[in-house]
Amino acid sequence: MDLKEWFASRQKRNETHLVKQPLTTEEYCALWTQCFQCRELLYTRDLRNNLHVCPKCQYHFRIGALQRIEQLTDPDTFEEIDPDLVSTDPLGFFDTDSYPNRQAEATRKSGLKEAIITGLCKIDSLKAALGVMDFGHFGGSMGSVVGEKVTRLTERAQEKKLPLILVSSSGGARMQEGILSLMQLAKTSSALKTFADEGLLYISILSEPTYGGVTASFAMLGDIIIAEPGARIGFAGRRVIEQTIKQKLPVDFQTAEYLMKNGQVDLVVERQALKETVARLIRFHQPPSPAPAFVERKDRKTVTTAKKS
């Protein structure tokens, strides 16, 4: 479903919560959510109003791309690009089921066409290019479409000289597209290289969970890298590592805080402060006018590039 439909349906859900009458199980479950961490039973609407962060223990619930976009962008400013890009089945991949069937299933579950939504938006009135992955769709796996959408978004941001913000949440590359998925790591990184050479800002936001090919490409290439509290982030999965080194790993291994301690992320930012932090970072990196003389050289560079395109 597209954004408008989603906001509409979301509206409907809220209304059902207001209806005063005996609840069906679904309605009950829709109404109440238990915190995975502190086990507290939370009123779903309060949870949503708290950006899906447990008011008791600050546990950050995994959220979908649409919620994330709603949280990060100014109302009605998000314009999706490439909404209709869909995977094909280049390998005719079949394990216990065919890739097309699995795609259909994923879309049924997530209501999304693919594991990322990209578009242009405003964040605290600042124009930006925003891509948000959704773990709920196909485990947020990166196939040709995710790679292409990230690349196109990067190119769009470069062309419009906008800051680029990518919110990652992924299990890694999509096996069903084989080597084509792997090559998306190179494609996206290559686009980011050209983007970086223009002196433009890229903020990478890592959310629960970010692993494999996504971490090993655009997610780790931000000028600034922000992680959400408690998010698990890594290249290899915990189980694989434990099998390899034949020993148990610390409980906080690969958490945002653990990465911070190991110098892998710039900031760990709570969801409530995320939008404001991103806005401040964008604002900080926007060249003032008039720019000091030593910025001149970069301006010239930018001009020649503009001529090129």
């Binding site: 995977s87 280049p90 040709s144 096996m175 084989g178 090559m183």
Partner: protein, 320 residues
């Protein structure tokens, strides 16, 4: 290669015939009449051999690519330039033996060469982590990539790795970042980069030295987004579906060539590179030099754009 090639499982029928022939030949002195049988068997043997290698399954290619006697990076470097100069270290605390870097001549050309090394002896294998580099290994390679850019030297990389090492300190030292930065920096080089998959091309750990203008694969080498074992256990939830996984992922040289990712497949001696290191090395060398000569006609900026365009085009999708 001093030792005689160890036969693989799918080569057993061939091995049996060979043994029969040997047996008969031993009796030949006393029973000259056997030599017709021997001749017959020899014919059978040659036929079987050709047919066997003409219709290999994906998992057979995998077996050859992983053959313990498969030539490794150092075997190629040594044969290409007997006095190549190995350069060590990331300058920041480690020298990863799983990633070998050096300066060497290939014919008339001087190149910066980088390759993963599996290790031959057990001790060797352990030091090389069985060909799985640490982040420090990728950062050593990155240093050499920048060296190549500075001195306008082409880069040649040899890929033969199960993948980047999945260890605790590897994660703490940011394995993901080490790979990602190499992808980024390789895509920005203005000197030619040629990557050759000589054995296993395992996932991001392979791609980290594989963002090249031209990608070549040895005939029996494989290249995949995840190890077949990993794929089988995740998608089939069963370790004995490896063969299916190999087939489904389309990981053989020919298949990947058909997908438009590989620019050339390099012939191996019949039965695999481990049957004749010199021939394998010579074939690879010729293919690399040919690509380099072609690329050397282009300007620095063209070289860079060529590489970026190559990857920009990769992907299968529809605009529904």
């Amino acid at each position: 290669m001093d030792k005689k090639p160890v036969p693989l499982e799918f080569e057993q029928p061939l091995e049996l015939l060979a043994q029969q022939i040997d047996a008969l030949e031993k009796q030949l002195a006393d029973h000259p009449e056997l030599d017709r049988d021997i001749e017959r068997l020899q014919k059978q043997y040659d036929q079987l051999r050709r047919s066997l290698y003409s219709k290999l399954r994906a998992i057979d290619h995998l077996a050859i690519a992983r053959h313990p006697q498969r030539p490794y990076t150092r075997d190629y470097f040594q044969r290409w330039d007997a006095c190549w100069i190995e350069l060590h270290g990331d300058r920041k605390g480690a020298d990863d033996p799983a990633l070998v870097c050096g300066l060497l001549h290939m014919g008339a050309m001087r190149v910066v060469a980088v390759g993963t090394q599996k290790g031959r002896s057990l001790r060797d294998k352990q030091q090389c982590n069985f060909g799985m580099p640490q982040p420090e290994g990728y950062r050593k390679a990155l240093r050499l990539f920048h060296h190549a850019e500075k001195f306008r030297l082409p880069v040649v990389t040899l890929i033969d790795t199960p993948g980047a090492y999945p260890g605790m300190t590897a994660e703490e030292h940011n394995q993901a970042e080490a790979i990602a930065v190499n992808l980024l920096e390789l895509s920005g080089l203005t000197v030619p980069v040629i990557a050759v998959v000589t054995g296993e091309g395992g996932s991001g750990g392979a791609l980290a030295i594989g963002v090249a203008n031209r990608i070549l694969m040895l005939e029996h080498s494989v290249y995949s987004v995840i190890s077949p074992e990993g794929c089988a256990s995740i998608l089939w939830r069963s370790a004995d579906k490896v063969s299916e996984a190999c087939q489904a992922m389309k990981m053989t040289a020919r298949e990947i060539m058909q997908l438009g990712i590989v620019d050339g497949v390099i012939d191996e001696p019949l039965g695999g590179a481990h049957h004749d290191y010199d021939v394998a090395a010579e074939n690879a060398k010729r293919a690399i030099i040919q690509q380099l000569e072609e690329l050397s006609k282009h300007s620095a900026e063209e070289i860079r754009r060529d590489r970026q365009n190559k990857f920009r085009r990769i992907g299968a999708f529809a605009e529904a």
